[in-house]
Symmetry: D2
């Protein structure tokens, strides 16, 4: 009972990594909106493996095929069904781990939870599922961008190497000029070499992605449980490998007198923006920004201890084509989930008043 | 459309801070379970203001009255309705801020979102609402504790002062011996004096709460969107003043080879527990633990700049009885929301198999 | 997990018939709307027992107390919590049936389902719960009536005695002039004497209520599962004792050429209105009307065979103050549930377009 | 926001009649269950057009392709994605009605609701969507049949011609021996000739389907809003052309003393079964049965008056291959929706107790 995200603009996803196809249904998409299909494909390309030397070399074209809900590039208001075929699945890579649980992977817990699992490529727990989110997110993003909202994510930290300026001091429009998707040229280069080194050692890295949403109207988010930051937190922690989020500037170590944001005018602009554009769970008209923390990729190209399904200790030496660091490919996923949350709350907010 | 939390075990909350009463409806509570009503009141007492010298001095008895769903202390399986009257509301404290927006509060965004607001004590955005969660959480906690699950939260950091050991090196059974609810005696004392100093200056503090859930069965959490950590993140970020969460040990700066947890046996125990008891969104049988970050309280007892509802610059000098640091009172709230998430997933998990 | 109705405008109800109180939470109510509280009480009075000689003589004042969500008679957009105390509960009437299952009542299935039950007055299965719906429905009705929508229900059939004209040939504004709430004066009288006779014999009657909603805008209802008629059907069948519904004129026995409704203009008016104002699940601008069938009341004032909780055959001779025919008191309940469905779809419909 | 049905076992459907494909996602399907794929295809064949001389001659193979969630014919517990391609769509048949609203169809209301519509074959409002339900329903049916539950539907009335015996006096295992799917041989013949006559005249017919569910365990259904009969009502009224439902025997015209069902033993068996196996919204262990009313098909092969999208009066003379009476093909749809409701409540019911 767990494959749908959103309340009004909803994405339901399906698909195992090595099954026939993955796909989804976008329900609750407003009608009459022109969608640029090539833009969706462009976002998928930003997420797909094989795009650069620092990502997995699995060659998936990740071509999305729309089956319903869009006619002549215009949304019909009806559910948008789509599929992405799995072409380059090498299930044979996983034969050796059929009865072995990979460390820090979901193999063991799936088998305990369901009594069985699709062992090929992690099955449903594979990050391949996130392609579906990118499709839905791109559509959401196109819709809210027509309302002036702009979402930009970038890699702000790899291992302990992090950017040194505030997000607004960088040009975020050219993130993709860097294959690691970091806006700081020098740090970008260092990150790439860090990732290459890790790859050479069969090791992996984590880090942080920062996401910024500009021009979000005042009033998105609900007061109590469905706070905008609570829904963003759920969205982010639902992404594979994400373990943490922080909304706004971390002022845990400051006094209230240092962290409070002072209103300047009735547009909602505040002198500082420590709260990251959300107060009381509701957008306040300032930039929304937050940091998302990723743990290092669990699949190492190293021999590792583990146990098999008989409980016997054994070791594993994974094959497969994996990312030494998922951060660069995760940027469009973070943007996608952010767009879905913002559009959903945009639509929910329309029901707060009768007219 | 935003006042319900949970999918099967659900809490719907209502109530403004200075209205007649707050309250809630717990729906989906399993039938036939003996509830210790005095334990619920005990948890409310841990949350209520006026409990110590470092908390708000508002004197609310916070006595919960159950109206349905429990007969002779046994749950009927029907919705449990309950109310907590607002007795010591001093609405007059808020007359001066009727047309002024308090900094970093939700006053401004509420008025923009709804076109009006209950200005008395923050209305719906008041943390008073969390008393409702404590009631539901205590019932959830009693139910899962009968399944062996144990939840313990404590204050691990106030401002920059933090505990120095791992959670498992402390005795977490006696947290309440410290009025700041920190398990480290020495640091506890320092925290208290830090809070008193802030209070004397009319200033406020933030910090972190750590929460640990032991003996959670393997298999709670759903694979994709409703990951157990995603739902915990949403639960925590839905608490007033919370801006961040981190599940497990923060290994953002480590190699994968340093952060992977190696399975030891079919009970799921791993050599390390960096993932904090959750992999792929599903509990793996190890301790679940996470850190929750609170911003400093927004209500200062200082003169602060702001604007009024005409957009004119003005200043504010708040009255009211407020906490210089909410962390100690937030401990039972964090425990409550954790219990609700775990019971909900416990029940959801029953539907994964037909028998 | 079953005490909430609606998707955006939602009512969550709680309360056993003989507990302290029943009540509910209305969530998702639009903000800024003036509510006439006395009108809500008026609707409760139309539903309450003891209102006439042909209803149950239980004397409940059914006074609703609002606890939140409304300030100075204006909705705040926050959840509206309310309670109705149980004053005249005579639980002693039910001592004799504590271990006996009343025929055609839910006693037996509750005990099987939950392992226990509140035997006093049917507990949660009592029609007393519907007072909560009337509160929510009256608020919904006040909101949509400001949009021009008008809902009128009336008793069209008691046992085999039914009205002989179409609904639009009657004056539906004066339904309450008849204690049986039938718009036909002569038939009304006959119905009353039919009910009195049944009462004298300790017997009970069923019948039908017709509900008409005028000026419903075109476009309410969703295409596939959440068709407007499907949601009305669910709403009606969720009312105690309702076993059937028919939307529009029953043309089961007609040819398509006789039942099709021919469009006359772009306002949507059709020559005939056999479809009852809904085509393809969506309102078409004509009157929505439907018939709701009630089975006879299960509680007879007669000796009846049954079994006890040991499976032994026994007989029952109920006490308590019951309705010989619930139809007259069910009229405001049918109106209430209709109003909730229409307002909910009105709000849902706002999300079909981005602007 | 309306293309999902069910709370735990959920079907999300997508697809326009003349788009590339229709399909769906089944979420919440229990894991580890062997599914007979050929049985699903068999049920689709019972629904597909072109199966006999009294149905539409559109030739759709309606071959379902599963994309995920099932491995080696065993459910994985993950979402089951599937598609059914549209092969024989003759969109050219609909060119003439692009700007004309067909009588009693959803053309007009779709255009008003969404601002545009897919005019080809009714788009989303086409009954073609119900093939998706048959897939989900067949899987649900296979799962609950392993629990002993058996669902059988049949045509009990065409126009005014109806069966004369109780359902339990017929052999319901051989329904498909009759192309009209009526268990009464003689009446079956008359129904077929009635349908042929209507077809010859370009006219259409409605009627009733009776559905029986045997061996449903006691306790399915929730007390208040999610009564089992309320959910069945919603399920049935969500099927195209359905306008009414009646649960159990229609005792509107009887006395309570005639309609009450007397319990015989602790298995729940009652002397009569007027309530149709559901009391207080909860299954009571007796056969569940209900009647579903279908209006005559709206598409006539006759010249009919209507208006165009400029509001001008015009006439329509439909092409396309349509059913003169949908009842025979609707039998597997009614069974499918019944199976979905019963499995969903079966799973929901597992959460009423903690163990």
């Amino acid at each position: 009972m767990a494959s749908t995200f959103g309340k009004i603009f909803k994405i339901t996803s399906f698909g195992e990594s090595h099954g026939k196809a993955i796909g989804g249904v976008i329900d609750g998409c407003p009608a009459g909106i022109k969608i640029d299909i090539s833009e969706i494909q462009k976002q998928l390309n930003r997420r797909r493996p094989g795009q650069s030397q620092i990502t997995s070399q699995r060659q998936e074209s990740d071509k999305v095929e729309f089956l319903s809900g869009i006619m002549d590039d215009i949304t019909l208001g009806t559910p948008i069904g789509f599929i992405i075929n799995n072409n380059d699945a090498k299930s044979s890579d996983y034969e050796s781990t059929k009865s072995i649980y990979r460390p820090s992977h979901a193999d063991f817990v799936y088998e305990k939870k369901y009594g069985l699992r699709d062992h090929r490529g992690g099955g449903r727990s594979s990050a391949r599922e996130t392609a579906v989110r990118v499709v839905a997110g791109s559509i959401a993003n196109q819709i809210i961008s027509k309302q002036g909202i702009s979402i930009k994510a970038f890699v702000s930290k790899v291992k302990s190497l992090e950017i040194t300026k505030n997000y607004f001091e960088y040009n975020l429009d050219k993130i993709d000029n860097s294959i690691v998707r970091c806006p700081d040229k020098d740090i970008s280069k260092k990150m790439i070499s860090l990732i290459k080194d890790a790859k050479d050692n069969g090791d992996t890295l984590g880090g942080e992605i920062t996401c910024v949403a500009e021009n979000v109207p005042i009033g998105l988010g609900e007061p109590v449980f469905d706070k905008l930051d609570a829904d963003l937190a759920k969205a982010m922690l639902s992404i594979n490998a994400v373990k943490g989020i922080f909304i706004g500037n971390n002022k845990t170590e400051a006094f209230g007198s240092e962290s409070n944001d002072v209103l300047q005018n009735l547009d909602g602009k505040t002198k500082t923006n420590n709260s990251g554009g959300i107060v009381g769970g509701i957008s306040n008209g300032n930039d929304i920004f937050f940091n998302v923390s990723f743990k290092p990729v669990s699949t190492l190209m190293q021999v590792q201890d583990t146990i098999n399904d008989q409980g016997k200790k054994t070791s594993i030496n994974p094959k497969g084509r994996h990312d030494p660091c998922v951060l660069p490919r995760a940027v469009p996923i973070v943007e996608a989930m952010t767009a879905i949350v913002l559009l959903d709350h945009f639509l929910i907010n329309k029901t707060n008043k009768i007219l």
